[in-house]
């Protein structure tokens, strides 16, 4: 039975989540790169949105959400041939069309998150081929395992809005991509600072608002679960923002805008898997932990790994998503408003841990293979001259900022 209120909220939520990619992620990442690469970031997010949408329609939605296999869906919903105008998606009160659309916006943003690892030095064709293969071979299977009735769904894993499906997969694959691509010229000593910190804030602000659709929409209906998810999401983001401001203030004597908004995104990534399960106090606790741990993770990846994950996809998204996923069974119990667990916290933690490890390893291994294929088929890294010139002109024949006239 289709419910009007539920449908209205999910229509709205789908629009909010698409906004997280177009334009939020473009601004968030675009402000962090050099001026000569701004258009390449905006273009990569835009192109990924278009290509993923068509693949989702063609067979990836079916691969993720059709059928009851433990590891992979079937092709019965390929080209959305199963869609009926009046039918609700099984187990929900929203139309199939709205469910397809809502999940599509998640499939769009996940490969787009990986952009942060390979900015300023990758071939445009490689971005498109990599994102397509990654959607088919990493995102869709994991989505099926966790949300599509697959193996981890049957174990009762708790990933409300994509700590595992979205942020962990993107974060792990990002570090693999950055490692296989090599660092930007001059890394780490003479890389250039963000060209437009204000734009990073605009992107993060759109992300924050869009995240209400992401997390509260994942209730798949309007009502108390959606309401509590929105409240938890907001509080975690606010808390992690304050954490980053505090750490930077103490450490450098000056809190930075880029740091504060990065903290917000770290808090949002961390609360994502827990957003539908925790109450307000649990959300603040998770924001505290997520903010502090992600700050440390960004530091460790930059200084320790010596891999140029340029915009900290692993440190912010991968670590935040994994951390939130592992802590769900504990933070759900803190304060009022959380959900009752189906089993003991430690037993649930074991399930969460198993999902994080398996999904992490799958993302790592499959991304490695995909990149070998992309390298052979489409090339991978642009030439030195093109990198110095900037991707905007060398890849797209355009210039982001015409300063005179």
């Amino acid at each position: 039975m289709i419910n009007g209120a539920d449908t209205a909220w999910l229509l709205m939520a789908s629009a909010l989540v698409l906004m997280m990619t177009l334009p939020a992620l473009g601004f968030f990442y675009g402000g962090l790169v050099q001026a000569k690469n701004i258009l390449s970031i905006l273009f990569q997010t835009f192109a990924i949105a278009a290509i993923v949408s068509l693949l989702w329609f063609a067979f990836v939605y079916s691969e993720a959400f059709s059928g009851s296999g433990a590891w992979i869906g079937d092709l019965k919903a390929a080209f959305l041939m199963n869609i009926e105008r009046g039918a609700a998606h099984p187990g929900t009160t929203i139309p199939e069309s709205v469910f397809v659309m809502f999940q599509m916006t998640f499939a769009i943003i996940t490969p787009a998150l990986i952009i942060g690892a390979y900015v300023e030095r990758i071939k445009f064709g490689a971005v498109l081929l990599f994102s397509s293969l990654w959607l088919v071979l990493v995102y869709a299977p994991v989505c099926h395992w966790v949300w599509g009735g697959g193996y981890f769904a049957s174990l009762g894993v708790m990933d409300f809005a994509g700590g595992i499906v979205v942020h962990l997969t993107a974060g792990i694959s990002a570090i693999v991509a950055a490692w296989m691509l090599g660092p930007r010229l001059g890394f780490p000593h003479s890389t250039q600072p963000p060209h437009a910190p204000w734009m990073v804030m605009v992107g993060a602000a759109f992300l924050w608002v869009g995240w209400f659709g992401f997390n509260a929409g994942s209730a798949l209906k309007a009502g108390s679960d959606a309401g509590m998810a929105m409240l938890a999401t907001h509080l975690a983001a606010a808390t992690a923002t304050c954490v980053w401001i505090t750490i930077e203030w103490i450490k450098y004597g000056k809190p930075s805008l880029v740091g504060a908004v990065t903290g917000a995104v770290a808090g949002l990534a961390t609360i994502t898997p827990a957003s539908g399960y925790v109450g307000p106090v649990g959300a603040v606790c998770l924001g505290l932990i997520g903010g502090a741990v992600c700050y440390g993770a960004v530091w460790v990846v930059k200084r320790g790994f010596k891999v140029d994950d340029a915009l900290d996809v692993l440190g912010v998204h991968g670590v935040g998503g994994a951390l939130g996923s592992l802590l769900v069974p504990f933070v759900a119990l803190i304060g009022p408003g959380g959900v009752a667990l189906a089993r003991s916290p430690l037993a649930q933690f074991a399930v969460q841990g198993q999902a994080v490890i398996v999904v992490g390893l799958w993302s790592l291994a499959v991304t490695f293979v995909i990149i070998r294929v992309v390298k052979a088929a489409a090339g991978w890294r642009i030439g030195r001259e093109s990198e110095i010139q900037g991707l905007d002109f060398s890849s797209h024949g355009e210039t982001g900022y015409h300063t005179a006239g």
């Binding site: 600072p193 910190p197 930077e248 450098y252 740091g259 990065t262 700050y295 960004v298 930059k302 900290d312």
Partner: protein, 112 residues
């Protein structure tokens, strides 16, 4: 005629303009430039990574003056731009071979 070229701190522009207007100088051209002198650059920190900004924003002023006004102009710019801190900038003077006011065709000192 002389061309006075001054590199100053961006936030001293208003003071320099006021000083020049105070001695009756009518024209001034300003360009946003980046560079470094003894001040070297400065450091900025983004997400825990330190970046050395070696070229920092400055303003370049250009004023064409008659020879007899040179000292007054250098004095006005120097006073307006001065803070006493490293990075206040420099004033250069070069000989100016000719000047034309485009609207009227006036030449040299009449064009200033």
């Amino acid at each position: 005629m002389k061309l006075v070229i001054a590199i100053i701190q961006p936030h001293r522009l208003d003071a320099v303009r006021d000083a020049l207007q105070g001695i009756g100088i009518q024209g001034l051209t300003v360009t946003e430039v980046r560079g470094y002198g003894r001040q070297k650059g400065h450091k900025e920190v983004y997400r825990g990574a330190e970046y050395t900004i070696s070229f920092i924003p400055k303003l370049k002023l250009e004023v064409a003056v008659a020879d007899e006004r040179l000292e007054a102009v250098m004095d006005a710019i120097g006073k307006g731009a001065h803070t006493g801190k490293i990075g206040d900038g420099k004033i250069f003077v070069v000989d100016l071979a000719a000047a034309v006011r485009v609207r009227t065709g006036e030449r040299d000192n009449d064009a200033l």
